[in-house]
Amino acid sequence: MRSPSYSVLPARGLRAVFVLALTAGLATAVPAAHAVPAATPASTVAAKPYMGWSSWSMQSSKYPGLNPDGDYSYLTEANVLKQTDALAAKLKNFGYEYVNIDAGWWRDNAWKPEFDQYARQTADPVRFPHGMKAVADHIHAKGLKAGIYLPVGLEKEAYNNGNSPIWNAPGCTTADIVYPDLRTTNGWDSAYKLDFSRPCAEKYIDSQAQAIADWGYDFLKFDGVGPGSFKSGDQYNNVADVAAWQKAIAATGRPIHLELSWSLDIGHVDDWKKYSNGWRVDTDVECYCNTLVSWENSVNDRWDDTPGWTRHAGPGGWNDLDSLDVGNGEMDGLTKAERQSYATLWAIAKSPLYTGDDLTKLDDYGVKLLTNREVIAVNQGNTPPARPVTPSDAQQVWAAKNPDGTYTVALFNLADAPAAVTADFSTLGFTGKAAVRDLWNHENLGTYQNKITEALPAHGSRLFTVTPRGSALTTTGYEAESTTNTLAGNASVAGCSACSGGNKVGNLYLGGKLTFNNVVVDKPGTYLVKVAYVSGDARSADVSANGGGATSHKFPSTGDWGTVETVSVPVSLKAGANTITFDSANWYAPDIDRIDVPKSPR
């Protein structure tokens, strides 16, 4: 949650600052933090991305009638039960399971918080007249699971001058769980930071965990977590809070899914994987406007912000792209094409699929989007998440290779006008024929040679399963560090343990340039050149051949400065020897490991 009353700066401003603080790749390169196998705590929790409904999108919206008693007032027992019933009736059969209560359940309509004698959040009697357990009971009675929400730290209003006792912790009061200087923490600085060097702090977490376990909750959204939530530095490092929660949940004996929010710092991804079941990779998807969301603020951010996280998703812990608000075009504030693209990215990224829509008012198209079994299977099946196989340009292709040898392939047109988008099979690693199935339209489109091109509307998408019927792609590799290449500007060779040949070319900034000389092909044409690169953030390079006109391509983030990923870039080559240049122009380009040039053109 990002409550506007707490938010100091808009997301975009902060992100810009973050980018500007970065310097050239090599300077900030950190050793490859090798991916650890995803933790699988507690039985089957988060074996697959969870599916369900969350209250926040409607709470946060200015859509007429949703919050008649003030901001966020949508959250009431009556509304939660109404949505529970609708979820059970319409979506449960398709795998939607969780009903998640978001922020405010312990606050009145003036947003004033209420705590029990032990400094724990307690239900607002107007919103939830029968308490939180009654709601969970109703949800369970429908065969569904119940989710609840807490912010990080000890809320300031709960401190009570340090006088409140901690439940089941003789001798501990609120004075014993925080730092003596009452330093604040979380994304809104709304709480005092817990001092886990003091045993009482963990007891406080235990007491909160026991409360929600006693009420019967199966899921906790833990919000304002740092580093992340637009905060960094020791004061906002909440790794210990998260670890304490994992331990506390285990101690209750009740499986409770622990989901972290928001914009978590990818530099701590190993912590998140170790202690939680999912993490929000980005800011709120909601627009805090007259609809639930809008394309520009901030659905479309996810195409750029997700790729760095992709490889960290897996059973036990998933990349959370936030609510999937595609169920009612008018309330969502999106076109049909935008809604399909939204659902497509969430599905292929293996994000949890929880809608924030009014489930009593789904339109026909929304029902189709939320209940397409083939698309849900992409998200829930035993397949890896997709990531971009082309640069993050206006038209882009994402793909995943599935265990059965097929590929999940998504085409996206993020431009404001219709455009053709092509998936070249060579970007997937094979050449020749392939059978293509259209998942959204439940239709076998037939067999295609080398590529499939479709016209996509503005902000549109297609989602296919591609079954190769051709042969493996043969390519010729060229190392960036080869002495036959030409480096210009500050460009230099640097060691890189994850890179082929152990080296890459970095310092491609402000005019830095790398030219591969003598790239030989037999036939003229457009080649999909696979570029292996390292880039801790999304960066652009101008790519050209033989000194001709350059095309700027944005390379998606690889998540850190020690991981190599690949995308394929179309380059027009002539028969015989060619040069291929990566030019940082007037900004910062990714570090280049190598290129692989197919034997045949597109």
């Binding site: 049909k336 006008a417 339209n441 016209a455 996509l456 001709g548 350059a550």
Partner: protein, 784 residues
């Protein structure tokens, strides 16, 4: 003094000159001629194609144009929702606009001067054919047939849509078919764009405060299923195929005496009559009738600039435009298709109605920049430079008709208002005669923005060139009053001055502005001197040819002798733009006004007949103007370089105009419309470059003036390997078919369209050709 010409006076003028008022633009027409059979198949080189439809908010860059010369549309071609933005060339607000502003110039607003605006919107919604649900989408524009085709597959059924604007049936036709057992379900809506009552599904009517009435109508018929009116829409259900026919227009009449209206015409009723008449025929019959008519005109000119690679041919048109700029390799077939696209726009936009303005017949809204009007200081002239050069002489008539229909009003305005004491451009002598125009003109006899004294000469010279190309005596008779009136204007306006250091009396133009830069009150600007010099010469030829006014012709010839002609500045080395050695304007200004004697005039020739210092000064000025302008300014530069036989520069400027326009930048849009960036991030359509660039391409292949014809004067390396052009008119009254190989003509067929003798030159050699009208001769064996 009688200010407004009476109808009697106007008719007397028409009778005296042989100029006939044209029929109203939107009028009942005779039954179309139907072809017996149809020779099908256009060549693929003249078929443009795209893999995505237009965005409804980017129609001017992405919509595909159709038009029958009067009635036009931009089409989105979206599978789920076809949108047509329908225009009629006469759909103009505004009026005579004869109350000058305080500065003695014309008001220039959308109500007083007026603006070209949309006629109607037609949408066809097919809810099950959402673009996200169809595969294999493609749309094509077949320039040879004049047909836009959209096709895609939905659930195994191939759906196909053909769109064309038929001149014989005077309707736009949208024909939806399928193969594979599909059915069409959806609605269609015809509505106005000016707040008209749209409660009736089949037609609407409206009128502007200026009294112009307009209306449009639609008819739809299917096979199988049902088509019925439901409220303000037409709903169709279960149709195996569907034909939608649209027509519409206004009661505009090109007749000053009738105040440019036909009061008896009910446009809505006429539109309903037209769509009903067309709907009696099958869509195939309508198509074949249209294709035969279109092909008859479009097929009169052929062009090959060489062969493109298979890789280039595999790209769609927009990819190809991008690849041309990115890879830098010539794409001769694309470049030839760009010229043919210009011809397509002219066939579609300039037949039997008003001429092509700043955007031709195509709009994406009701407030086009500069009103979509007629700009007389380059733009309308450039629109028609291509017509004769590229086999579309008959399309030129719209310009002639327009000028003749405006002449009574232009004459009246000049007489009443030009010497207004507030007008800084008035004749300081106090004398006043003949006619001239403002920089902008509308179809109601009115001017907009500032007076443009030399505009009359440039219009006349353009009209006269059409006579030179065609040898048409009847055309010369029609334009004679325009020429004579312009001469009378200049006879009254020229001032006598004695050049410093000489005793020689010279005639110079009174205070004026060299378009569109520098001092506002410069006397003897090169632009005016050159245009008037050419005008006077043309008038004398016309007088002699028509055996009229020999005495007055002598007067004009004498004036011409005394016209000051520009010198080369000792300071800059450039041909002077003002009678000053100093550069009083922007070095790289878009206009080439002082080079109007190089092109379109040809007083300045690089063949030794013009003093070398003048040719050098013109070349130096052209060089200084630079190679990086935009659209029409690049096209004009290219034409001038072609005249100077600099093939590399002429070609580079064409390549510059072919750069893809992205984010509103200067260049070529996905639909090949030329885009001019008016401000960062906002580009607008300016059709002149779509005609000026083809004119330059033609001029590189063939230069002509009466009595002289030069083959391949500026052939660039990119086109040199092999090529051909057929049907290119040459001044002097000839039509040329030409083939070349390795940069050298291999065969040139010269046909007389009325011309009798000319020299035909290539390189350093020339031959004399004498023919009778209708005869032809084929020349071979050209030496290097």
């Amino acid at each position: 003094m009688e200010h407004v010409p009476s109808r009697r006076g106007f008719l007397a003028l028409a009778a005296a000159t042989g100029a006939l008022a044209s029929l109203p633009a939107f009028t009942a027409t005779a039954a179309p001629q139907r072809p017996d059979s149809l020779a099908e198949s256009g060549t693929s080189r003249n078929t443009l194609w795209w893999q995505a439809p237009a965005d409804e908010h980017s129609m001017i860059e992405q919509g595909l144009p159709v038009g029958n010369g009067r009635l036009g549309a931009l089409a989105s071609n979206d599978s789920g929702r076809e949108l047509l933005l329908v225009t009629d060339a006469t759909m103009w607000t505004g009026g005579l606009n004869d109350t000058l502003d305080a500065d003695g110039q014309f008001p220039y607003g959308r109500t007083d001067f007026g603006s070209f605006t949309l006629l109607a919107r037609l949408t066809v919604d097919l809810p099950d054919h959402d673009l996200s649900a169809v595969s294999g989408y493609r749309r094509t524009l077949d320039l040879d047939r004049g047909v836009v085709t959209t096709s895609y597959v939905r659930s195994g059924v191939t759906y196909r849509r053909e769109l064309f604007a038929s001149r014989p049936d005077d309707v736009i036709v949208l024909h939806l078919t399928q193969s594979g057992g599909g059915r069409y379900f959806g609605t269609l809506t015809l509505e106005g764009t000016h707040g008209e009552d749209s409660s009736r599904a089949e037609s609407f009517a409206g009128s502007f405060p200026n009294g112009l009435r307009y209306g449009a109508a639609v008819a739809a018929y299917g096979s199988g299923g049902s088509v019925e009116v439901t409220g303000s829409q037409v709903a169709f259900s279960g149709c195996r195929e569907l034909t939608v026919v649209v027509s519409g227009g206004t009661n505009y009449a090109p007749d000053a005496a009738a105040d440019y209206r036909d009061p008896s015409l009910d446009p809505e009723a006429l539109a309903r009559t037209k769509v009903r008449a067309a709907a009696r025929h099958s869509a195939d019959t309508l198509l074949h009738t249209h294709v035969a008519d279109h092909r008859d005109l479009f097929g009169r000119f052929g062009l090959s600039l060489g062969t493109s690679t298979p890789e280039q041919r595999a790209l769609d048109t927009w990819e190809r435009i991008q690849a041309r700029a990115r890879d830098g390799a010539p794409d001769p077939e694309l470049e030839a298709a760009y010229l043919q696209f210009g011809r397509y726009l002219m066939v579609s936009g300039s037949r039997r109605s008003l001429p092509l303005g700043l955007q031709g017949l195509w709009l994406d809204g009701n407030d086009p920049d500069w009103m979509g009007d007629y700009h007389t200081d380059i733009n309308i002239q450039m629109n028609y430079w291509m017509a004769d050069r590229a086999g579309l002489s008959s399309c030129f008539d719209a310009l002639t008709d327009y000028c003749l229909a405006q002449l009574p009003s232009w004459t009246d305005l000049t007489r009443r208002l030009f010497n207004d004491s507030r007008n800084r451009y008035r004749n300081s002598s106090g004398k006043n005669a003949g006619w001239t125009v403002a920089i902008s003109t509308n179809p109601y006899g009115g001017g907009g923005w500032w007076w443009h004294p030399a505009g009359n000469a440039w219009l006349c010279n353009t009209l006269f060139e059409h006579y030179e190309f065609t040898g048409s005596r009847s055309h010369l008779e029609r334009i004679y009053p325009l020429l004579k009136g312009a001469c009378e204007f200049w006879e009254a306006r020229l001032l006598t001055t004695t050049l410093p250091g000489t005793s020689q009396d010279m005639l110079i133009a009174d205070s004026d502005w060299s378009p569109e830069q520098g001092p506002l009150d410069a006397k003897g600007i090169t632009y005016a001197q050159e245009l008037v010099w050419a005008l006077f010469g043309n008038y004398c030829v016309a007088s002699a040819e028509l055996k009229k006014d020999s005495g007055y012709s002598g007067t004009i010839a004498a004036l011409r002798q005394k016209l000051y002609l520009p010198r080369v500045s000792p300071t800059t080395g450039w041909l002077e733009e003002w009678m000053s050695p100093d550069n009083l304007g922007e070095t790289t200004h878009r206009h080439l006004s002082p080079l109007v004697g190089l092109f379109p005039g040809d007083r300045i020739r690089p063949d030794g007949s013009t003093p070398k210092d003048i040719v050098d000064g013109a070349t130096a000025l052209l060089t200084a103007r630079g190679m990086e302008s935009f659209g029409w300014a690049n096209a004009w530069r290219s034409l001038c370089w072609a005249r100077l036989k600099n093939a590399d520069n002429a070609y580079q400027l064409i390549v510059n105009n072919l750069r893809p326009s992205t984010g509103g930048s200067n260049g070529t849009a996905p639909n090949l419309f030329d885009i001019y960036q008016v401000e960062q991030g906002r580009g607008i359509f300016q059709i002149d470059a779509n005609f000026g660039t083809p004119a330059a391409m033609s001029e590189m292949l063939l230069y002509s003036r009466p009595g002289h014809l030069e083959l391949l004067p500026a052939l660039p390396d990119a086109w040199a390997a092999s090529g051909s052009v057929t049907g290119a008119a040459a001044r002097g009254g000839f039509v040329v078919d030409l083939r070349w190989q390795d940069g050298r003509p291999t065969e040139a067929c010269i046909r007389s369209g009325g011309g009798r003798t000319t020299t035909v030159a290539f390189g350093g050699t020339s031959r004399k050709v004498s023919l009778s009208p209708g005869q032809s001769v084929t020349l071979k064996d050209f030496a290097r």
